[in-house]
């Protein structure tokens, strides 16, 4: 009896060892970086965490294909290193000593990646399933690009400034015209305006005469 039990156990153990080893068929390597993700709040990777991992994988397999009844004992872990990294396979209890095909496992993990990550407080980068690519989330794009809004604001300010300056320029010009016509009317009536002590009428305000003394106009130009 005992011998039979030992025999079955050893067969199972050998079978498991055959199924789960590095680079085995349908086996996946997992790499976990707890310290990078959590820093001081890092937990230690022990047998309990391994149990949780097996549970999550079983959960993922169950959710993926409803006809499967994957148990925690179907998930085999091996070659756990200090890194922390290990290999795992999912065995099929209905068929003896075989593993679930890799693409099914991959699809199951992909579908439930978020739940698995959150169970361990990790992310896609710190809980890596080598060979299983993750779908990247697109960056959030608002309906109107932000830069267009800022540009609109800047443009409104500039146009407002230009309109203000042009309008004030026109107003100043009108006021200057009005003032000068008023001044002209005033001058005619009231007083004789003086320029340097000489009444304006006496001055000849035409633009310039040629002074005969300065006949040598060559001196105006520098000699070459």
């Amino acid at each position: 009896m005992l011998r039979a039990l030992l025999l079955t156990l050893s067969v199972v153990a050998i079978a498991h060892a055959e199924l789960c080893k590095p680079d085995a068929q349908n086996a996946f390597k997992v790499r976990i970086s707890i310290k990078t993700a959590l820093g001081d709040n890092a937990y230690a990777w022990d047998a309990n965490e391994e149990y949780l991992f097996k549970a999550m994988v079983a959960f993922a397999m169950r959710r993926y294909s409803s006809k499967r009844t994957t148990q925690i004992s179907n998930v085999l872990l091996c070659n756990v290193t200090d890194r922390v990294s290990f290999w795992f396979v999912v065995t099929d209890s209905s068929k003896n000593v075989t593993t679930v095909p890799g693409n099914e496992v991959e699809a199951a993990i992909r579908m439930n990646r978020n739940r698995i990550n959150n169970a361990f407080l990790l992310s896609d980068k710190t809980l890596q399933f080598l060979k299983i690519t993750s779908t990247l989330s697109p960056p959030v794009e608002p309906s109107t690009p932000v830069w267009l809004i800022v540009f609109g604001v800047v443009l409104c300010l500039i146009v407002a400034g230009i309109v203000f300056l042009i309008v004030s320029g026109i107003q100043k010009h009108k006021k200057k015209n009005k003032d000068s016509t008023e001044r002209e009317n005033l001058e005619e009536k009231v007083e004789v305006t003086l320029e340097n002590g000489i009444p304006c009428e006496a001055l000849d305000l035409k633009p310039g005469h040629i002074n005969g003394v300065f006949a040598a106009d060559d001196e105006r130009f520098t000699s070459l």
């Binding site: 310290k35 890194r83 830069w147 230009i162 320029g169 340097n196 633009p207 106009d217 070459l224």
Partner: protein
């Protein structure tokens, strides 16, 4: 006979509200983008602190004398560049026309650089910053390929901003977002220059002072960043051996010359609005020294940030290697830290050399990261934006940085536009009754329409061409003729008397010597060396080509012949104005002297009552 001309006090010419506005405008014109993104780069590649020696020698013998000459000229003759040179001698009118043309060409492309700054500014309000993440590809399995192979920052600059074509011959399409920003920029320029110095004088208070505030903020923040001290030590450690290379002296001379914005005609225009009895000598020395001090002051935060970026890149390199090793050997996390990395590497290399070799680890060298020197748009839009992502509160830093760049560029634009505007007002092409607002509006509109060509896919290649050919050689030629014209044609004795009349004291011997001999000689040498260096290799450019084998390295290409012709045209056109106008006047005089019924024209035109 050189009597002081009767200068009427009220000649209707606009004037500065106060002296401070004038000084600030000159400083704003001189202090531009080059102080931030060219001077630190030159310091870095030419032996750090040692570069300051040729720089200050060039400032003393080339920068300050030429600056004083221009300011004194404008102030005395009270005319823009074309009018001033016509007054000195009609044969030298070409110098003014050349300045005017260079101002036009530079205004066109300079505002497009400001367009890029504005585009980055309005994109800085997003969270996360758009140049920090790569967009996804079509089936969302990974990142966009072009972005993934280079970096997110490069992708945003070359693809999302410029949408650059792989070759200058391919023009691509007009980029509508750049057109919007270009329109906004020209509207801002119009707003500030709408009534000439009346409006720029008010705007300059903000645009000239604000960059100093931001530089101080960046200085304080930059010094607190990790790795800042490495950057600063690297920058300022003098390496006196570099002074043996004549290239260093040439770069110092050209940097001083272009940094002070000489020969554009803008400084002459600014000074022409001054009262004549103004101490232009003190002004010139002030402006030149403030400009150089600003360059030095700006290089401190720039290098703190570059040191921070290099240190972060070095740490990233180390971390990547560490992760690779840990994953390969399944070692526990945090067993290898940055500090004991080298000891671990040597241990593992001795025990498992094949495994280590198989990992293909990159060698991480901090010096190598510090050596990556960039200048110009690469510094602002690629290197600095990458550093800003790494800082906490990146939106605020990005916004501050781009507003600072925009103010720096805008105050230089004022000088350029003034160099175009003032001579136009004096040329008597435009009727006096036309309001200033209309003239400045037309100038801005025409410039906007021409500058639309820079918003094409190949636009940035063309801007490089304009920068290299229109904004370099012609200026040297014009400055040379400026000095020769004043010293030998107007005669230095006469000019000294004029300056004496303005400043109220005798001209120092230093000015006489530099104006007569040193500055023209220096300019000639610099011009020859510059042209020789340009001619030594066929003009080429680096293109961003995603299909290139060496991508993300840029592809080195040669300009096609028609582009080379345009380059020569850009460089030659302003220079050729000088002899052309002289020739024109010579022919006119010869024809007049042959005509016996020639009556000398009215040379004296009084502007008002002569007291």
């Amino acid at each position: 006979l050189s009597a002081a001309p009767e200068m009427p006090t009220e000649d209707g010419r606009p004037k500065w509200d106060n002296k401070f506005q004038y000084i600030l405008s000159c400083i704003g014109f001189a202090v531009g983008l080059g102080n931030v993104w060219r001077f630190p780069y030159l310091c870095q590649i030419h032996g750090g602190g040692a570069f300051l020696i040729p720089y200050f020698i060039a400032l003393l013998f080339e920068g300050i004398p030429l600056l004083h000459l221009e300011l004194a000229l404008g102030q005395y003759l009270r005319k823009g560049s074309i009018g001033a040179w016509n007054t000195i001698s009609p044969y030298l009118g070409g110098v003014g026309v050349g300045s005017w043309m260079v101002s036009i060409l530079v205004s066109l492309y300079y505002n497009t650089v400001l367009t890029w700054v504005m585009w980055y500014f309005i994109n800085s309000f997003q969270e996360p910053l758009p140049w920090s993440v790569c967009p996804l590809n079509e089936n969302r399995t990974g990142f966009n390929e072009e972005c993934y192979e280079s970096t997110a920052v490069n992708y945003f600059w070359y693809r999302k901003t410029l949408n650059i074509t792989p070759d200058i011959a391919e023009s691509g399409k007009l980029q509508w977002w750049l057109i919007l920003c270009l329109a906004a920029c020209w509207l801002i320029v119009y707003l500030c220059t709408i009534r000439g110095i009346e409006t720029t004088g008010k705007a300059i208070y903000v645009t000239a002072i604000f960059p100093y505030l931001v530089l101080t903020i960046f200085l304080i923040q930059g010094l607190t960043l990790p790795g800042a001290t490495e950057g600063l030590i690297y920058l300022f450690t003098p390496n006196l051996n570099t002074l043996k290379n004549p290239r260093v002296w040439l770069d110092a001379a050209t940097q001083i010359f272009f940094s002070l914005s000489l020969a554009f005609g803008g400084l002459i225009a600014f000074a022409s609005y001054n009262p004549t009895k103004n101490d232009c000598e003190k002004d010139a020395v002030t402006v030149a020294i403030v400009n150089s001090m600003t360059s030095l002051y700006a290089s401190i935060p720039v290098f703190s940030v570059l040191g921070f970026k290099a240190t972060t890149a070095y740490w990233d390199c180390l971390d990547r290697n560490i992760i690779n090793i840990i994953n390969e050997f399944d070692l526990p996390e945090e067993s290898i830290m940055r500090q004991n990395y080298t000891s671990w590497i040597s241990f593992l290399n001795s025990s498992y050399p094949e495994k280590i070799a198989g990992l293909k680890l990159k060698s991480c060298d901090l010096q190598e990261f510090l050596d990556q020197s960039v200048s110009g748009t690469g510094l602002a839009f690629i290197v600095f934006t990458q550093a800003i992502i790494l800082m906490p509160g990146s939106q605020a830093w990005a916004i501050l940085f781009f507003i600072m760049l925009f103010s720096l560029g805008l105050s230089s634009m004022f000088g350029n536009i003034e160099g175009v505007f003032t001579p136009l007002l004096e040329l008597q092409i435009i009727p006096k009754s036309a309001p200033k607002e209309l003239i400045s509006g037309i100038i801005c509109l025409i410039s906007f329409l021409i500058a639309l060509s820079f918003t094409l896919g190949s636009g940035s290649y063309w801007i490089d061409i304009f920068d290299r050919y229109a904004g370099s050689v012609p200026l040297l030629v014009i400055a040379f003729f400026e000095v020769i014209g004043v010293v030998y044609i107007y005669k230095i004795k006469r000019f000294s008397k004029d300056v004496e009349w303005m400043t109220g004291r005798k001209l120092n011997l230093y000015w006489q010597i530099t104006w007569k001999f040193i500055s023209p000689l220096l300019l000639l040498i610099v011009f020859m060396a510059f042209v020789t260096l340009q001619m030594q290799k066929t003009p080429s450019y680096t293109a961003w080509n995603p299909k290139y084998e060496g991508f993300p390295m840029k592809e080195e290409k040669v300009y096609p012949p028609w582009v080379q012709a345009v380059c020569v045209l850009l460089a030659a056109l302003p220079c050729v104005c000088v002899p052309l106008v002289a020739l024109f006047h010579l022919v006119k005089r010869k024809r007049r002297s042959k005509d016996p019924s020639f009556v000398p024209p009215e040379v004296f035109s009084c502007q008002g009552a002569n007291s």
